[in-house]
Subunit: 207 residues, 2 copies
DNA sequence: GCGGTAGGCTAACAAGCGTTAGTCTCCCGC
DNA sequence: GCGGGAGACTAACGCTTGTTAGCCTACCGC
């Protein structure tokens, strides 16, 4: 029954549904079964509490990803592992993960710079895998930045609608997205005639 | 020099960067070159101003999409048109579009219900096209809801990073996403041996 | 010329904000 | 048994918030 932890959970849930500025210290305290002033026995202030949640969450995501990737070496295996990790993390930590992405703007400049740094490190994993897939496996990646952020975002929003009780498990969702991404990336087997142009801009776009 | 319009633009920009609760009427007024009290000559209150922005934006997106889709009848053409429309709208109306999605939670219940209704109508367009593509063109859509929201979200986040001065035009980005989606959806030409299982769950998932 | 409306202004309101000071009580180690 | 710290509490602080009341001025139709 660690009090600090209880406060973090309540605060995370409130930041998620009302946003940082829409959440008051009195609400957090109420949810944790105490009065506002007592929060200051645990955290030095609202901004620091928020920063701790966001930074710890972002760091944890990066660490899990690196552990999962350590054993994979081919691009397809690595992309599948990263998507699976990403989807699971965003399901297991729905509230904190979304808060850490949506509410970045509520961090004070120094805190934001810190978190953005962690975030950039993580996103680089996606970009590196896509670049490797293009070089080694001939993946069709017109623009590494566009495609990687597209895939990541697609997987991120799982946190918006996923429910434990729904039709799909976390693994199902991860597999759907990995399949969608991988077959979207794999080079066209033979250009289908009369198409609107799928695949036609494979490198031409980088101008 | 319509004053109402100027206020809307300033408010949209501020809601975008600070969020609804993080934006004050005095800041909006300052940006529009007046004092806070004068805003009430144009809008009855902060919530109503916000609701007007969000509702008008969401309605406009749906209307544009329906116009664009009116001339297309095959699933591929419709999906390309819808993605193109979606991407262009989110580029042309970056701030308002993101505010209308990220800040939905700041709407009072009645206003939120109104906007969510508009939003659902719009998202149904994606779902209908995917369902039609599965039925008519054999698209691989393990789960209509998951895949459609995945594709839509991928295209939505273009508003986060797109800059008019960047390497890509709106049309380029739309084409990248349409290609990625369509080749991700098209049935595997012949199951590549030794794959991890792309495509293996084509219908089995709906349990 | 003159009345009225549109739209700005200042001043002020009550409510709510994050935060601090100071106090009280429980419990653990000696 | 007793000292002290951990952690709750009440009360209050100074500010900021959205909003209102009342006023003043410019301009347009008659």
């Amino acid at each position: 029954m660690n009090g600090d932890q209880r406060i973090r959970e309540v605060a995370t849930a409130l930041f998620y549904e009302r946003g940082y500025h829409g959440t008051t210290m009195r609400e957090i305290a109420g949810g944790a079964g105490m009065k506002a002033a007592s929060l200051y026995n645990h955290y030095p202030g609202k901004q620091q509490l928020f920063h701790r949640i966001v930074a710890d969450t972002t760091r944890a995501l990066g660490e899990e990803a690196r552990v999962r990737l350590a054993g994979c070496h081919d691009p397809e295996g690595r992309l599948r592992a990263l998507i699976d990790c990403h989807v699971r993390f965003h399901i297991d930590n729905r509230l904190a993960a979304r808060v850490s992405e949506d509410q970045l703007g509520a961090l004070e400049p120094a805190n934001r710079a810190h978190v953005v740094g962690l975030r950039d490190d993580y996103e680089r994993l996606f970009k590196e895998i896509l670049a490797a897939g293009r070089a080694e496996a001939g993946w069709r990646v017109p623009d590494v930045a566009v495609v990687s952020s597209g895939i990541a975002t697609m997987c991120t929003q799982v946190a918006t609608w996923f429910r434990e009780s729904g039709r799909l498990t976390a693994g199902d969702v991860a597999r759907i997205f990995a399949d969608l991404a991988l077959s979207g990336l794999s080079p066209p087997p033979a250009a289908a005639p009369g198409e609107h142009g799928a695949g036609q801009l494979t490198g031409a776009l980088i101008r």
